[in-house]
């Protein structure tokens, strides 16, 4: 079957899964929409009903959130959302501690940490959900990345950041870098894991070529909401081939 013709599993919906995109207006620079789209489609392919909501600065925060997905932005975008994010810190922290699955990429990964200290020494406070801190540097880390993880196998993506993140003892790295740089130029770690949060510098977008992570988010959302997850059968033929080709491309 042509994967493009893959359709939702037959039969009635197994239930609704609500995905909230954080700040798509200001924090969406490296194809972050792809992560939201992949969640939406795969929720459908697994036989559940997706509901995709956007949350931007000043919006009322949605209720009954099942999955949070947040992207990267330019430094200017981070400044725009900073106060609003602080105002939402309590709700987001509560959701995180309650096991809600979340994917935060690049800029929001940094702001989910304790702080971001810029090159000039200014400290932008984060919301402290993740025990990580980020320091601005003059070096920009750019290129294709391969990461070995125990949870999701090989993770493939592309990085483009000048902030370097160091992990505290309260989080685990997502994986070990096999090609590229990852969190920082020192320890070979990429991304962070805490409860059901996946944080990463990789875009590309991350989820299309790493469906194992997408399905982890969907599975934990279903388990948290319905007590169990019954998967569908998405066709990942193209994802597998795209991964093989991406793995062979130069840095």
């Amino acid at each position: 079957m042509n994967p493009a013709e893959a359709t939702a599993a037959d039969g009635p919906s197994k239930g609704t899964i609500r995905v909230v995109q954080l700040y798509p207006r200001d924090m969406n620079i490296y194809g972050d929409w792809g992560n939201a789209l992949v969640l939406k489609r795969r929720i459908d392919w697994h036989g559940y009903t997706p509901e995709l909501l956007e949350y931007n600065v000043g919006d009322p925060f949605p209720e009954d959130v099942d999955i949070i997905v947040g992207g990267g932005g330019q430094d200017s975008g981070q400044l725009v959302i900073q106060d609003d994010l602080q105002a939402r810190a309590g709700q987001l922290k509560e959701l995180a501690e309650d096991g809600a699955p979340m994917l935060v990429i690049c800029g929001l990964y940094q702001l989910f940490g304790r702080y971001f200290k810029t090159r000039t020494g200014a400290v932008i406070p984060g919301i402290g959900i993740l025990d990580v801190e980020t320091h601005g540097t003059d070096e920009r880390l750019i290129g294709n990345v391969k990461v070995s993880t125990t949870e999701f196998g090989e993770v493939l993506g592309y990085e483009n950041h000048s902030g370097q993140t160091t992990l505290g003892s309260g989080v685990q790295p997502l994986g070990t870098v096999a090609k590229g740089t990852g969190n920082n130029s020192n320890d070979g770690h990429e991304g962070a894991r805490y409860r059901n949060i996946v944080a990463s510098y990789l875009h590309g977008s991350l989820l299309p070529k790493n469906p194992a992570i997408a399905d982890f988010l969907i599975r934990t959302a279903a388990e948290r909401k319905f007590g169990s997850f019954s998967p569908g059968n998405p066709d990942d033929t193209y994802a597998v081939l795209a991964r093989e080709h991406a793995a062979r491309r130069p840095r």
């Binding site: 792809g34 920009r140 290129g143 592309y158 875009h203 977008s205 080709h245």
Partner: protein
């Protein structure tokens, strides 16, 4: 005084051409042995230098400006497609100067890559510049869009005469606030057409969401594109509107025609020529697309269009400008250095418009990334073949009875043109 660099550079140019080599090597040689060559040669031009930069549309816009000025009787030196780096300009100069290093031209109109333009303008301050846009292109080179905007701002700062800015691109329009001595002119777009130009800032804004507060009133533009028809366009300038036939297709190309008109009018108004509107418009209507930018070729008696796509805005505009209906479609995505290695941008393009007819062939080093993208937009994919020659042959064979369209990244476009040159006539750019 005779500079040895010129004869030597010309010699390198001849040899490298015999070898079928690249266009920049002679430029590199002359730059190394005679760093003052370019500055010395260009500063002798009576009407100076005009620089065209921005992330998208430089080549076609530069071509338009050149043809508009030529219609006014000016002799124009330009760097033809392919090498918009400083050494490419030096190489192009070597081809045009006489053995004593003299250039027979009234003005130079140069297309310059954003990053290289910065070096160029430090050495040769232009009299005019035209800054087109700052799209989310080449982030793998520049890191952030705001960084690209700073590069353009530097070009404007070094310009001695007139700076022409895109009124509709906030990052470009804002450059005006940083300028002190220069004259600033804008080209603009009718409000009714703004929707066809989603910029990177409102790409993901919810439909109907209010514009960010604090946007200043738009400045008046020298030339405004009011309407775009199938083969025509309506421009407003000097208080009146004119409709003209256009060979160029694609809203973005025609918007750049407003940019080219603004620059050409500034240069003429700056004393280079008495701008004659009838001949300017006539010249504009005859401009054909440059090299791979909406080029239309004929293969097996059927039209084959090449549409260059380099970033989400460009791809979305391409899809909007060229309806899919009735066409066989191929998409060729490479991720070589000149294309940009980062594939993230494919996820910021909506491909719904291809759902009806599907895509016949996907090719390029990232063909499977494209296939995956289309799968998530429910677009049927005929065949995936990473080898461009094989894919093109299959596409032409299967689509024998239909007009064809190929969306391609830069290096994929070069490869496709090479293949097509074997079976049809494609424009040769020296």
């Amino acid at each position: 005084m005779v500079f040895f660099s010129v004869p030597l550079g010309k010699l390198v140019r001849r040899v490298s051409r015999l070898r079928g080599g690249g266009s920049a090597l002679p430029g590199l040689v002359v730059e190394k042995i005679d760093p003052g060559f370019m500055r010395r040669t260009l500063t002798t031009l009576p009407h100076g230098v005009a620089v065209v930069s921005g992330t998208n549309g430089k080549t076609t816009t530069t071509k338009m400006v050149v043809e508009l000025l030529e219609s006014q009787g000016l002799k124009v030196f330009t760097n033809r497609t392919g090498s918009n780096f400083t050494r490419g300009v030096a190489a192009a100069l070597l081809g045009e100067v006489d053995w004593r290093g003299r250039l027979d031209a009234d003005i130079a109109v140069l297309e310059l890559d954003e990053a290289h333009a910065v070096h160029f303008v430090n050495s040769v301050p232009p009299r005019y510049c035209l800054l087109l846009n700052v799209l989310r292109d080449q982030l793998d080179r520049f890191g952030e869009i705001d960084k690209t905007a700073q590069l353009l701002q530097h070009i404007a700062a070094k310009t001695t005469g007139t700076v022409v800015l895109n009124r509709e691109d906030p990052r470009v329009a804002r450059i005006a606030d940083t300028l002190t001595g220069q004259e600033v002119k804008y080209f603009g777009l009718d409000d009714s057409l703004l929707g066809t130009f989603p910029n990177d800032d409102d790409m993901r804004a919810a439909p109907g969401s209010p514009a960010p507060a604090g946007l200043p009133e738009k400045p008046a533009a020298d030339v405004v594109l009011r309407k775009v028809g199938a083969d025509s366009a309506e421009f407003e300038y000097d208080g009146g509107t004119v409709t003209t036939a256009m060979k160029l297709r694609g809203v973005y190309n025609i918007f750049n025609a407003a940019a080219a008109m603004t620059l050409a009018r500034s240069i003429c108004g700056g004393g280079a020529a008495a701008a004659d509107h009838a001949t300017l418009l006539e010249a504009l209507s005859r401009v054909a697309p440059a090299f791979g930018r909406g080029e239309s070729l004929t293969v097996d008696g059927q039209p084959l269009d090449l549409v260059l796509v380099k970033n989400p805005s460009g791809f979305r505009l391409g899809l909007k400008s060229f309806p899919a209906e009735g066409y066989a479609t191929m998409i060729a995505i490479n991720d070589n250095y000149a294309d940009g290695r980062d594939m993230s941008w494919l996820w910021d393009v909506e491909f719904d418009s291809l759902r009806g007819g599907g895509v016949d062939v996907l090719t390029g080093s990232r063909a499977y990334d494209m296939a995956l993208r289309l799968q998530y937009d429910d677009v049927r994919v005929g065949a995936v073949q990473t080898d461009i020659s094989a894919a093109l042959a299959a596409f032409i064979r299967e689509g024998r009875d239909r007009p064809k369209r190929i969306f391609c990244t830069y290096t994929a476009m070069l490869a496709i043109r090479r293949e097509l040159a074997k079976i049809t006539t494609v424009e040769v750019v020296s």
